[in-house]
Symmetry: D2
Subunit: 239 residues, 4 copies
Amino acid sequence: MTANIRVTIWNEYRHERKSPEVAKIYPEGIHGTLAKALSEKGYTVRTATLDEPEHGLTDEVLENTDVMLWWGHMAHGEVRDEIVEKVHKRVLDGMGLVVLHSGHFSKIFKKLLGTDCDLKWRETNDKERMWVVAPGHPITEGIGDYIEIEHEEMYGEPFGIPEPDTLVFVSWFTGGEVFRSGCCYTRGQGKIFYFRPGHETLPTYHHPEVQLVISNAVRWANPTAARKLIRGNTPALEK
Amino acid sequence: MTANIRVTIWNEYRHERKSPEVAKIYPEGIHGTLAKALSEKGYTVRTATLDEPEHGLTDEVLENTDVMLWWGHMAHGEVRDEIVEKVHKRVLDGMGLVVLHSGHFSKIFKKLLGTDCDLKWRETNDKERMWVVAPGHPITEGIGDYIEIEHEEMYGEPFGIPEPDTLVFVSWFTGGEVFRSGCCYTRGQGKIFYFRPGHETLPTYHHPEVQLVISNAVRWANPTAARKLIRGNTPALEK
Amino acid sequence: MTANIRVTIWNEYRHERKSPEVAKIYPEGIHGTLAKALSEKGYTVRTATLDEPEHGLTDEVLENTDVMLWWGHMAHGEVRDEIVEKVHKRVLDGMGLVVLHSGHFSKIFKKLLGTDCDLKWRETNDKERMWVVAPGHPITEGIGDYIEIEHEEMYGEPFGIPEPDTLVFVSWFTGGEVFRSGCCYTRGQGKIFYFRPGHETLPTYHHPEVQLVISNAVRWANPTAARKLIRGNTPALEK
Amino acid sequence: MTANIRVTIWNEYRHERKSPEVAKIYPEGIHGTLAKALSEKGYTVRTATLDEPEHGLTDEVLENTDVMLWWGHMAHGEVRDEIVEKVHKRVLDGMGLVVLHSGHFSKIFKKLLGTDCDLKWRETNDKERMWVVAPGHPITEGIGDYIEIEHEEMYGEPFGIPEPDTLVFVSWFTGGEVFRSGCCYTRGQGKIFYFRPGHETLPTYHHPEVQLVISNAVRWANPTAARKLIRGNTPALEK
């Protein structure tokens, strides 16, 4: 069932090439780690990165993607506006989008949500405990009461997002903060999931439960009923 | 995929036995017509009716139901409270529930929604046109811009329901009214869909697109991640 | 402006009369402490308690209440169903309702929300930090980034409520849990706010910011546009 | 109470100057008609139009606006992006925004909502009947069951918007369509109301109930609790 879902993992892929510390954790890039995890779960996976032509997001790739993952951080501004436009259009037409961690500040996420998507943060490796607040939601399948991540960057409220359609996870941090860590949206015909964890200097994407949530999110975001919409000037149905 | 979904169609089954006019349209009862339609689509279907012992809803039936359909009208008050309690608990534990037409006034729907669920109505066989307002939603799969029903009872606003999580259909009626005809809710771990059409004196449940929506709703409401919740007195995780 | 808002503070008023420990903190009852606070802010306040005739909630009181506060804990089961019915009807007709702390398990809250309203809890006086996640919301007026309560009972997720219309506060607890502590709903024409803090053995309702939130919530829940609804059998508007 | 609310009515103001037909209905411009109506209700009103320097939206004007109205149609593309950015920022910081009719395609509305905001339309002067689906909502104060507009342009579903926080009005049109005509959103600290009616060739903005809804919407959108947010790198609260 997952085999029919075509996933494109987009990664900025700069930290991994510039910082030996990050490269040690993600030698094939964050996208490489996630591609391996999702392939093992049976999805049809490809990757794309910032420094490829068209950021790896050609029309052909976009048309053949059911769900896209997005990780970016230091180079949001280098993502070209015309590519963002195309991704935006694909989401409205039904493509699922899973935005990860610092992707909260990506052009595509801000464009889809319409708000500043700003937040508090702290890089002192708090413990994070992500509580399930929407039990029964497909994104939580196989997850217990909470997911514990021994070391993570803190993100704190107020997170500048529209009220989620469904709030799935809320994080607790050692330092005293909380954060809405798993947020579902529908925009146009596309489903969007924001998932908080994943600082580049930490092995978060090797965490089995983090991988499971991402896998669940891909399945949840996979479009089922996308169609061509009838808009514009239309004649009356009744005389 | 649908074969694994166990559907129980609950019907009051009084109109069909009392009124020759209704019996002519639904000789096997409304539940019979819907059971045939859903069986043909591959679901594992059983039926239950008001005048059976325990209204046909024994513990065994409830435990082995993934999604329940509910049609009632003239005898809402005869549904026993202890059965309603059990169905309510099953929905909170994850069972899907599709409430049809006059089921808006059923005990189970009012108990789950918490409001009066009242509305306007008129039995003069308006034409109904149900517009899709949530394209891309799985419940609309295979449906065009709208569904047209040549003759139906009118239901009008203000409908006394909580704001739906997702509004899927809005109806237009010849007589000048509108109605929120397809409404999604999550309550506990269960998914609920209210679907307006289906007056007993009209052949609405023989309409292929009405059947398709009900089939889609069953698939949408099928629980995927229901679990036993941890509640009550709990020790601290941090010292 | 607040003077025109008629508030009825309902309190179970049993702990205060049975436990010297509680009586010391709330010598006039929890309702007495809240009545003083709201009167000082200019509201027109009365109180009602469980052991009064009709629990103090006569038709006359209900008709002349704009916003009701509800605190209950050990005697939820003693609240008579016909009184709950009346309060329920008044909320649907527009009366505001602010449900406090252990009121999450009251008959009226469960009836309005339709879910089990269950949660985790622990009485070891965690520190609670309630974060504002909806800045700009009128209930947060005058509140900073968060409210800190030195000692409180812990409430933990998953809280068995429908997704709030607006989530206003999320709590952090020393022991490692989070909780959706401030939740807005509309049911019928009435506005409902659930506000978590307020364990009877702790001086929470003397906390100025807790009082401020409750005052803000009363102003927010005050009905502005309630009307008599037109329902039932109606003639067509178009011929 | 309304006197303290500072309203800026922004109008494209092109149709009125180019078309004698439109000028006849709105000799002072659509903004002039609305300014008169809101002034009479006691608001502090100013206007701004596309062809003024900075489109009439200087920093000084923006800082001193509590609620902005927006009407545009033929010249959305001429609104400068840097002005849209400023209005966007002001909304996130708390300024209310009431978007009228063809403003659904304005840059500011699309930027705030993140979707294509597309729809069906027809200029054959259908009758429009806007039903209240959220009775008790302050924007419906003083309005009956519905508002009838003898002649209006039709707008039809599917309307390309995110699910509204609150759906207030749904329109019925003679030609057989429905439309979500009154939609509330919160984005950042700002409240947004989209209100459908108001085609430039028709006297809709002279309609007393249309004016009343707009006045109610201004009062509803007026910010009450906007504040400076704390974001960015923050130290831990707990050691």
